[in-house]
Amino acid sequence: MISALLVMIGISLLLGAVLGFSAIKFKVEGNPLVEKIDAVLPQTQCGQCGYPGCMPYAEAIAKGEADINKCPPGGEEGIRKLAELLGVDYKPFGEGAGPRAKAVAFIDEQTCIGCTLCIQACPVDAIVGAAKQMHTIIASECTGCELCLAPCPVDCITMEPIGEHIGNWKWTYPVIPLIQVAAK
């Protein structure tokens, strides 16, 4: 009787020690779910979700404070991926909150007065310039977040849609054309 009790206590102490040790040794820094959510988000850092960047939005989703349909640049596919990741139902975009065509910002260099306000607003440092010097966008780094539009005092920044060209063209999903075989 006593020996059985001792064996059981011994086992539980041992396992407790192992668990306690591994909790310290293999401690995961930060919330891995946040990183997974952040990996799905498009990293435009546009703030259209109402959070100051993709990481804060990911943190809010992980805490259950934010909906998964608040990221227009991610598109519907982004929502689907989030839904799959979090094991929740797909939720469509709200009214008028859908994704827009991809675009890059363009500075009309004739109008630019060199105030540096857009440079301070750009979340990915994609604007080059200095005080009283003309600014310009590094198009390849621009995420199209539109955050530079509002601060510009002379409204010289416009969003130029990225059209289809040979470099970004892709094959479309094959569709079988429907042919009307008999007149109505």
């Binding site: 952040d38 988000l41 990293q43 435009t44 990915v124 440092d125």
Partner: protein, 577 residues
């Protein structure tokens, strides 16, 4: 007799090669305009090196190579640059790309050019010549040849020359081998030298007996050693590089592995010919052999200047009214041209004029019945029916698990499909979708890094500013503390002194120091007085009185001057600037 190996699968579509092989290669006429795309090769687009209105000579570089993987583009004949703009090009998308349009002057005037002896020239120079001569793989892949003609890491044993030409209708390599065999072999020698390859194997499908005979004769005539012309069985797609290497050497080039890693390198016969012309004669790649066939009166092979509009070329073979499409390349892998105005490029081996009679529109696709005939013919040993299934469901992860990117898009699966499913289209869709996602993921990663860096920078700047402020604050506090400390010390000393005096009225403060200072002041005063003698001892009292008066006046003026100087600053001299 050499042992040949087999690759998996393959199909036997009707070859349709006889039509265009009845007559020798003809020289196509200089067209009314040349539309020369700047992106005719794998890699970076060439950069325009001319301006609109410039007169260019035949062989002049009009697009210089940009970056490591790129190739030059030349004016195919002499004339005037009439436009540098977006024009339709031979591409699946049917979208325009940057082209240089030249209006020929009809003189066909060459730029000064001369060749080199490849045996006397360093290999880097030879590769430089190839790059600037615009030599790219003419089998259809248009990979810059200079990038393929070296191998630092791996010993190349076998150089494979590809004359298989497995796709139906195309006969340009066949005619080239019949007519220009010796130059092809000389080009092969140049490539062999560059690669330090031991043997050269030339694979030609056995439906081209004339070409095989001509090449064998040329090997004998040219005394080429370790070079063998091998007839390989006619089986589509036996002209694929991996398939031909497999058939000739038995080496299976695995997925994601380059053939050089397996000790082989493969060039098209037409590429070898162009290498020879570029090295020995200094002639850049300005023209190529193009088969014009299909729905035309006289199917024929032409030597065509690059940039010749397709409809002007086809006209020379007699086009027919019911032609409704132009296919560049073969019927299995070719590109439907968006217009007849598209210029011939380095990749254009064949133009097939299509009509409804020749290529009836495909019947509607039926459901897959999973007969796996596609798997039987797949030369890459894939499971096309599974790939189709996952691509259709847009399950791109699964398509990659089933090695989608090993698909060479040969179209054998779609050719045998009893349900007429356009399988290759599904694979291409899946591939480009995966590529796009990868690019987007990369862009997102870059954006994330830039954003994090920016946040860190802002944080750092804030920290540094705070540190600077704190430093200043510390300095000010230190100064204040030092001042208070000194005051306190002085007060303490005074207090101690007064305390001692109070305790002992007879106490003389320990003023040896003070006395020393006083003595020093007295000494200094005496010294000053000694240094400025008044020299008045010898004067009369009247004179002394006059001097005293003058001294008093001087003192008064000095006093006035020092008062005025304190009130307003003296005017600045212009010289100070």
């Amino acid at each position: 007799m050499r042992t040949l190996y087999k690759f998996h699968g393959g199909v036997h579509p009707p070859t349709h090669k006889e039509e265009s092989t009845r007559t020798p290669i003809a020289q196509a006429a200089i067209p009314s305009r040349l539309v020369i795309p700047l992106h005719q090769h794998v890699g970076n687009r060439a950069v325009p090196d001319v301006q609109v209105g410039d007169h260019v000579l035949k062989g002049q570089i009009i697009g210089r190579p940009e970056g490591r993987l790129s190739s030059a583009v030349h004016a195919s004949t002499s004339g005037t640059v009439s436009a540098i703009d977006m024009q339709l090009v031979a591409h699946h998308s049917g979208l325009p790309d940057l082209c240089i349009t030249i209006t020929p002057d009809g003189k066909d005037e060459w730029i000064a050019h001369k060749g080199v002896d490849y045996k006397q020239t360093p290999h880097t120079d030879l590769r430089h010549i190839l790059r600037h001569a615009g030599v790219v793989g003419l089998g259809g892949a248009v990979f810059p040849s200079d990038m393929k003609s070296y191998s630092n890491k791996h010993k190349i044993k076998t150089l494979v020359l590809n004359g298989a030409e497995c796709e139906p209708y195309i006969t340009c390599d066949d005619l080239l081998m019949r007519e220009r065999a010796s130059d092809i072999l000389r080009g092969a020698e140049v490539l062999r030298t560059l690669l330090y390859a031991e043997e050269v194997l030339i694979g030609i499908e056995d439906n081209k007996p004339e070409a095989i005979a001509s090449m064998r004769q040329a090997v004998l005539d040219g005394n080429h050693e370790n070079m063998e012309v091998i007839a390989v069985p006619t089986l589509y797609p036996g002209g694929g590089a991996k398939q031909l290497i497999r058939v000739l050497t038995g080496i299976e080039v695995a997925a994601g592995v380059r053939s050089t890693e397996m000790g082989t390198q493969c060039f098209n016969v037409a590429t070898a010919y162009c290498v020879w012309r570029a090295i020995t004669y200094g002639e850049p790649l300005l023209s190529r052999i193009v088969t014009v066939t299909g729905n035309v009166d006289h199917p024929q092979n032409y030597e065509v200047l690059l940039g010749t509009p397709v409809d002007e070329l086809v006209k020379q073979s007699g086009n027919r009214a019911d032609t409704n499409r132009h296919i560049m390349g073969g019927p299995m892998m070719g590109v439907d041209l968006p217009s007849g105005a598209v210029g011939v490029t380095k990749a254009t081996n064949c133009i097939i004029e299509g009509s409804d009679a020749l290529f009836p529109p495909p019947p509607p696709a039926l459901p897959c019945i999973r007969c796996t005939r596609c798997a039987e013919v797949c030369p890459a040993e894939l499971q096309p029916q599974e790939l189709y299934w996952f691509a259709k469901a847009k399950d791109f992860g699964k398509t990659q698990e089933y090695s989608l990117f090993d698909c060479i898009e040969c179209g054998a699966c779609a050719y045998v499909c009893p349900s007429q499913i356009p399988l290759v289209q599904y694979y291409r869709f899946a591939k480009s979708e995966i590529w796009q996602r990868e690019q987007e993921a990369q862009a997102a990663e870059v954006a994330r890094e830039r954003h994090e860096f920016r946040a860190e920078r802002i944080e750092r700047e804030k920290r540094e500013k705070a540190e600077r402020l704190a430093q200043k604050e510390r300095e000010a506090t230190a100064a204040r503390e030092a001042f208070t400390l000194a005051q306190a010390l002085a007060a303490k000393q005074a207090a101690e002194l007064s305390a001692k005096q109070a305790a002992d009225p007879a106490f003389e403060p320990d003023n040896t120091q003070q006395m020393r200072i006083d003595a020093a002041i007295v000494r200094a005063k005496a010294q000053v007085a000694a240094e400025h003698p008044n020299n008045t001892e010898m004067l009369t009292p009247q004179q002394k009185a006059e001097i005293a008066e003058i001294e008093a006046r001087r003192a008064h003026i000095r006093e006035m001057a020092s008062n005025a100087g304190a009130d307003d600053e003296p005017p600045k001299s212009n010289k100070d600037k």
